[in-house]
Amino acid sequence: MNRFVCLVAAGLLAACSKTPPTPPTALETGEPGIPAPFRDVAAATGLVFEHFIGASGEHYMSEIMGSGVALFDYDLDGDLDVYLLQGKMLGDREPGESLFPPPGTHWPGNRLYRNELEPGGSLRFTDVTNESGLRFPDYGMGAAVGDFDNDGDPDLYLTNLGPNRLLRNDGNGQFSDITPGSGTADVAWGTAAGFNDYDRDGDADLFLVNYVDFGVDRNIVCTSPGGRRDYCGPQEYPPLPDRLFRNDGNGRFTDVSGAAGLADSAGPGLGLVWADFNGDGISDAYVANDGAANFLWIGGSDGTFTERGMISGTAFNMMGSPEASMGVTAGDFDGDGDEDLFMTHLFLESNTLYLNDGKASFFDATDQFRLGHGSMAMTGFGSRWFDYDNDGFLDLFVANGNVKLEESRVGQSDYPFEQPNQLFHNDGGQRFTEIGADGDVLSLLGVSRGAAFGDIDNDGDLDIVVTNNNGPARLLLNESNAANNWLQITLNGSRSNRDGTGARIALLREDMPPLWRRSHTDGSYLSASDRRVHFGLGDWSSPVALEVHWPTGTREIFSGIAPNQFIVLQEGEGQASE
């Protein structure tokens, strides 16, 4: 072959970009089993929110990606309020022209619901969006919660399909949009974001994950394997780089993506979790990229990050294949003191559990812990390690919903993307068992996306708020009524950032291995969870000690703490520890 033609031909073959094979979709509602101890009380408690995707028939990619939820105590009254992000009509059409017009009760824009919980009373929510200043005409994606100005109240960073927003909590029930001039403006398609003090200077910095360079003006036509019009995958659009904003401590941030080493790596990012994966006391960040190699950014003492996804074994699954990677969570599920990773994927990929050896070297242990096959028919999004039954072992919840047309259900459903959610019980750190039975809350179908976790009714166990794409938000109230004991801790940093975000806490009991948890709100999918650190204690009812490893490096022990209470630990008031 003529060499010149050969070169040109090589280019042409590359031009014919291969459309990724679309695996089949299916619905498997599970076999009869143990009912999940959750009940959906959203409507009954006034949390009435219908997500609107603005379906125009054009199959804009954002229509299928969903929006997140934040659980945070914005008014500092001791209970968790709920902020839900909303989609909108794209292009120049009116909502009424949507294929799925919003219900008559629909309010455009994001909504804030204040929790009116009275001690010992029932749960009730009031929509306070208008008075809070949190109503925006955006196509909302995700929320990050953190006290970036160290004034004691939680602030918000919202990611959008379009310009993001930094919202300062003014402490009077209102928020101010301080994006212009804050240094955090970004107009790309933002997804996950998370606050963490990576440079250990006492204030919370911000990591922003961006997805792909999609726009209504460059919408690509994609089809299902059978040629029906369908949503595109991320491969159809250029991936975007993530950004790191350093908090300058004066209400402003500086984009340090380049200096920190992040700027040159683009990926279709959807999930983010900060954690110290190699135990060196410096925060690392893990970014779940959709259908591409995931990034493990290992933090250095000089404020730079080194990407070690491939070398650590967390870029691809056991077979060396990139997976869809939507939601991600990090936690010490096996009690060995390091943070293991779990992430959710597309159907036919199974979710993946990466087991940490303590040095940020990982092994895909999905099959070993029986987490593979149960997820093969599902497309997972929001997920988190959480101890729903307070037995001391971190369980898993996975919010599911297809992104591709489910061919078998066309004609049977107006919106054939729905799937049930899943709950996996951790059997003593050895394996997981799927919980759920016909007729329980997990068997409800939806196109679930975001999931935020926290003790919404302050009864000691963890509840879940799940967002559904083109559907109602659900509040899954935990009714496990287990006799197990618990403890929930709020950290107050003084040298460290005010929320103590990134601190690690070891719960110490005599003749028992420590339980390690981390203070954080990030992880899952587009969502922010309760910042209180939750410990399930099983039948342990005696006082415990807590060793706090603050983000600035100091360690303190707080002793004699009785179970079954909410406590606040103030940095500097514990006993110094080596």
Partner: protein, 471 residues
């Protein structure tokens, strides 16, 4: 001779007997055909119609299952495969294919049972045994998986997938050394592919060998696009039944990459008859025609594609490639630049723009564009090649070696030319022995792929090396 009456009576009796032994079939599922393109709608309607007219014919039910399977109608496929298997229990394809469907539905235990059934009927279909081992492995049934692999290897000791799976099994059993041994066997049978080196990296990570982990991680990235396909004629029949535009483009690309351009063209032209306004089809056809120097046809399809979406980055990229083929370099550069305006991450476009600049004599900009391509895709093969060649021309042979040596394991029609360039780079850098070895490989590849120009070049350089070594 029996009378007509007796014959009729006997026939009726036989029919009644057969009726008594009739297996009960699950009812046909409701299949919604709305929204399918006309050709697929027709294909499915015909297949389902055949079952309607002959509901107890196994082949008709099986065919309906295969079509629904290929279009991801898994619930319907499950029922039709089930019906086919009940009607023809001696046919292994139905339980085998149904096992894939059920695995896709998350019903793994049933899928494994069906694979056992398929193997009882047809023990020689080793892909079923491989699949069984895969499912056993991913279910955590390690002992059963080991037994299945033992059987497989005893039957066929040259199945690379058996060794690859056994390596995965051994990794799960924390036996890194045994895994490495099996990966070596796999490599010997298949050559390099990304998953193989990923597994090597895991094994060395398990063994605590950081340097080897790093080495194989790099190779996993380098060979990320390489695959080791497992032959599966039965499943291929399902995949080939898919006549969607996307599937036909994928098949055409596979044919073209194997050099069967005529078959690729036929497939794409057929697809165009069913889907005349498909931008990917027009762009792919333009690429195919441009690649063989038929620029008039390439232009025709590009012009049509432009009427569908004038701002599609792939359209501008393909236009650039066509103009480059026609040696209309200024227009080619303009098209690549437009493509990069719309998608700056496209490594192919950067590489091609670099090639144009090189041809135009702007070596500095060419090198810059090749390097930009590699920033966007560190393993961009064409950029390593073009950059290596450009560096050779610029006299920087050592850096050229670094880029071209990465491509040394590749075996396809470009291999002779790449190896010749690598031989030149080694020669330029003073490594005579390696140059001779690589030129030998270039000659072998030139013979294999019929590249007379590279053969002549390699021979000329070898003669020169001989002259240089003689006193």
């Amino acid at each position: 001779m029996m009378s007509l009456k007796t014959l009729s009576a006997t026939g009726l009796a036989l029919l009644a007997l057969a009726g008594c032994e009739r297996v009960e079939l699950p009812p046909q599922p409701a299949v919604n055909l709305d929204g399918y393109p006309t050709a697929i709608h027709r294909q499915l309607a015909q297949a389902l119609g055949r079952v309607d007219s002959r509901p107890r014919k196994a082949a008709a039910n099986g065919r309906a299952g295969m079509l629904l399977h290929t279009y991801d109608q898994l619930l319907g496929a499950d029922v039709y495969y089930q019906r086919a298997a009940l009607l023809d229990p001696d046919e292994f394809r139905w339980p085998y294919l149904r096992s894939w469907v059920l695995a896709g539905l998350g019903r793994t235990d049933e899928a494994m049972q069906l694979l056992q059934t398929a193997l009882e009927i047809e023990p020689g279909y080793s892909r079923a045994r491989v699949r069984l081992a895969e499912l056993q492995l991913s279910s955590g049934q390690l002992e059963q998986c080991a037994a299945t692999l033992r059987t497989l290897i005893a039957e066929q000791s040259d199945r690379p997938e058996a060794y690859f799976l056994r390596a995965q099994l051994r990794l799960r059993m924390n036996d890194a050394n045994a895994a490495i041994e099996d990966l070596g066997r796999t490599l010997a049978l298949t050559g390099h592919f990304g998953g193989l080196h990923h597994a090597y990296a895991q094994a060395y990570r398990l063994a605590g060998d950081e340097a080897a982990t790093r080495h194989h991680t790099r190779l996993a990235e380098q060979f990320a696009d390489a695959r080791a396909d497992i032959p599966d004629p039965v499943m291929s029949e399902v995949l080939l039944a898919n006549i969607s535009t996307t599937a036909r483009i994928e098949r055409a690309q596979a044919y073209a990459s194997r050099g069967d351009v005529a078959r690729a063209e036929t497939l794409l032209v057929e697809a165009l008859e069913d889907d005349p306004d498909s931008l990917p089809l027009h762009v792919t056809l333009a690429g195919l025609y441009g690649g063989r120097g038929d620029f008039a046809n390439a232009d025709r399809h590009l012009a049509h594609a432009a009427t569908i979406d004038p701002d599609h980055p792939r359209l501008h990229y393909s236009t650039g490639v066509a103009r480059l083929g026609e040696q209309r370099f200024a227009e080619a550069a303009e098209a690549f630049e437009r493509s990069l305006e719309l998608d700056a991450n496209n490594a192919d476009a950067w590489a091609q723009l670099g090639l144009v600049r090189q041809i135009q004599g702007n070596q500095g900009q060419a090198l810059e564009h090749f390097r930009t391509a590699l920033e966007h895709d560190p393993w961009h093969r064409q950029s390593h090649w073009l950059l290596g060649r450009a560096l050779n021309q610029a006299g920087d042979h050592e850096t050229a070696v670094a880029h071209l040596a990465l491509l040394r394991p590749i075996r396809d029609p470009t291999a002779p030319a790449i190896l010749l360039d690598l031989g030149r780079a080694y020669h330029g850098s003073g490594d005579r022995d390696t140059a001779i070895a690589v030129l030998g490989e270039a000659l072998a590849a030139a013979g294999e792929f019929g590249d007379s120009q590279s053969r002549a070049g390699a021979n000329a350089l070898l003669r020169r090396l001989e002259r240089e070594s003689s006193p």
